[in-house]
């Protein structure tokens, strides 16, 4: 059976200030629909780099990246943008909300793609459903400045979910939140997997990692699955 995502021997070299550094040395990874996994590792170990390759922000230097069995590692930018909007949802440590837009408008932003916008009514329905899914439908009209950190991150999650993605990529989504708020945000993210969406979570928090179906360590540019005790 073909996996949702299959990485084989992914390498990535980044050009630092002085010299080139190979961040990823042959990363292998399989992700099935609806499963959740955590990627942990030291700061600077390359977790964000891996996530940016998974999310088609960046391309691997070597190795293959299969999505539904199709090679997408060398995709042209236009098709990559299309895939980002149809298949992926992103949540970051910082929320990246546009401060001049309301919560609903921030979520609707993700509905703009190459073809333009959905009709107004359909747009409204989807935005409200996404806000409802993360539990903040009542804040739809609020600007980010009027919301707490947890609420802002929920808006960001709603923005990631509004297109009903098949893979949710979260890069330290709780890094800027207190423990309690962070935990409820993780709950919200896990909630999405019940609808068949895969979740890849980068985190420093052991408890949060433990909530995922499996845990991978990224060390010296290689990913290894942690055997559960």
């Amino acid at each position: 059976m073909t996996a949702l995502i299959e990485l084989n021997g992914i390498t990535k070299t980044l050009k630092g200030q002085e010299q080139r550094r190979t961040i990823l040395h042959g990363v292998d990874l399989r992700v099935e629909a609806g499963e959740s996994l955590a990627i942990v590792g030291r700061s600077g170990s390359g977790k964000s780099t891996l996530l940016s390759i998974l999310g088609l922000f960046d391309r691997p230097d070597q190795g293959s990246y299969l999505l539904d069995g199709q090679e997408i590692g060398k995709l042209a930018e236009r098709r990559a943008a299309k895939l980002r909007s149809s298949h992926f949802g992103f949540v970051f440590q910082r929320f990246f909300l546009l401060k001049h837009l309301s919560a609903a408008q921030n979520v609707a932003m993700a509905l703009v793609n190459g073809q333009g916008w959905l009709p107004r009514r359909e747009r409204r329905r989807r935005v409200l459903a996404a806000l409802d899914q993360v539990g903040i439908a009542h804040l739809a009209k609020n600007r980010p400045a009027k919301m707490s950190g947890g609420e802002q991150q929920r808006v960001a999650i709603a923005r990631a979910l509004v297109r009903e993605p098949r893979i949710l990529l979260a890069d330290e989504p709780t890094g800027a939140l207190d423990t309690e708020t962070g935990t409820s945000v993780i709950e919200t993210l896990l909630g999405a997997t019940t609808r068949g969406c895969a979740l890849v979570l980068v985190t420093h928090d052991r408890d949060h990692a433990a909530r995922m179906g499996r845990i991978h360590d990224l060390t010296d540019g290689v990913l290894t699955q942690r055997v559960r005790a």
Binding site: S48, T49, S52, G55, F57, D58, E77, R78, A81, K82, L83, R84, S85, S86, F90, F92, Q93, R94, F96, L98, H100, L101, Q105, M109, A110, V112, N113, G114, Q115, G116, W117, L118, P119, R159, R163, D171, E172, G175, V202
Partner: protein
């Protein structure tokens, strides 16, 4: 079912959101652009108005473009009769027989025109002049009881079909009615000024006419015929004292396509009188000159516009720098680069259009005020409207400025790398 509306529309809507979110920056862009667009609008408006004014005067004196004109001088006396007989009663051809006439008191010589070629600064001998030299500030004392020399145009039909003389006062000649006993005369403005200044009693002598007794004409109106010399227009058939004179000049005006031209050519050739009309093409000749001048001024205002574009560019780059995260995020959620560039371009284009609207409104308002203040009594100024060409030029300038000012920021925005910005 998924039905997406156009990409341009979303670029416009997001661009508008951006403008609304950054009103002060938009205002700064507009301020830097305003003078440039205003300069373009003003140059185009000035050129259009000048063109209209000058062309209108040329049309008065030469005729509408396409009018065919033939001048006949010094032919045998019967050539005048041939022409008059042929064109009388026709709408597509008019003949003007031109003679010098003196209107005023009998037995006096006409007032000489002043150095400017106008009656307005005419000098007369005798006590009137004395009154003038007493002091510089003293008003010119108008001489009384002299005569004025005009060029009399006896017309076979309505010349205004070919030359659109402007109405000033009174009425114009009517044709097709029974000729009046006392010839009805329409003066041009220059002649009217002379009569107004000198208040001459009206009797008329025609130079070289066989009949020596004077005619008493009736003045019925004044027109602007674009001529700087006194002219009078009269129906040919009302000049009963008229007999052909050897030194009468004659001009025939013909419509572009008329059988009259062929008829006249053969009739006059038979009498050995050359008849070869030329076509009035003033508009084209003239437009070339004016467009050269306009090009020069547009070049100058284009330079001012460029300075404004630099301002827009500056603000645009700063804005993109500030919005790196927004653009990276938009790319992350699947907005294609082309649409991102479109959003930035839409913002500068809208800014350019807004500025153009402001500049056009300002220019049109300024023109209206100028007309209100100075337009009194001048029919041309009073009838002056803001030329649409200037509005078009302003909009085009706004669009060009928007594209030039937004191009580089748009490319910058499209090139923002997602991975670097979003890394945690």
């Amino acid at each position: 079912m998924r039905r997406f509306s156009g990409r341009n529309r979303s670029a416009l809507i997001i661009g508008l959101q951006g403008i609304r979110a950054r009103k002060l920056r938009t205002l700064l862009s507009m301020v830097s652009l305003f003078l440039g667009i205003l300069a373009v609008v003003a140059v185009q408006a000035g050129a259009s108005i000048a063109e209209r004014a000058l062309l209108a005067d040329i049309e008065l004196t030469a005729g509408f473009d396409g009018t065919r004109v033939a001048d006949l001088y010094g032919g045998p006396p019967e050539s005048v009769d041939i022409v008059v007989d042929t064109v009388t009663g026709r709408a597509d051809a008019v003949a003007l027989v031109q003679v010098q006439a003196t209107i005023g008191e009998a037995g006096v010589s006409p007032i000489q025109m002043g150095p400017s070629g106008s009656y307005e600064d005419a000098k007369t001998e005798g006590p009137a002049d004395y009154c003038n030299t007493m002091t510089e500030a003293a008003p010119v004392c108008p001489p009384i009881g002299k005569a004025i020399s005009v060029q009399l145009n006896a017309v076979t039909g309505d010349v205004r079909t070919f030359r659109p003389y402007r109405h000033v006062s009174g009425e114009w000649l009517t044709f097709g009615t029974v000729p009046a006993m006392a010839p009805r005369i329409v003066l041009n403005k220059e002649a009217a000024v002379a009569f107004g200044l000198y208040q001459v009693p009206a009797a008329m002598r025609i130079d070289g006419a066989v009949a020596t007794n004077s005619i008493t004409p009736q003045f019925i109106g004044v027109v602007d015929d674009g001529q700087g010399w006194p002219q009078a227009y009269v129906r040919m058939d009302e000049l009963t004292a008229w007999t052909t004179t050897a030194n009468a000049g004659m001009q025939v005006l013909l419509a572009g396509q008329t059988p009259v031209e062929q008829v006249l050519t053969s009739k006059l050739r038979a009498k050995n009188v050359p008849f070869d009309p030329y076509e009035v093409q003033s508009r084209e000749d003239f437009k070339e000159q004016i467009s050269l001048m306009r090009l020069l001024f547009l070049g100058l205002s284009g330079f001012v516009l460029l300075i404004g574009v630099a301002g827009v560019l500056n603000v645009g780059l700063a804005t993109v720098g500030e919005r790196v995260e927004e653009f990276a995020l938009r790319r992350a959620v699947g907005t294609p680069r082309a649409l991102l560039a479109g959003i930035v371009l839409a913002e500068t284009l809208l800014t350019g259009l807004l500025t153009a609207a402001a500049a056009i409104g300002f220019a049109a308002g300024a023109l209206k005020v100028a007309v209100l203040v100075m337009g009194d009594g001048d029919p041309f100024l009073a009838g002056l409207e803001f030329p649409w060409q200037a509005a078009v030029a302003g909009i085009v300038a706004g669009l060009i400025a928007g594209v030039l000012g937004g191009f580089v920021p748009a490319i910058r925005a499209a090139r923002i790398p997602i991975a670097t910005v979003m890394r945690a």
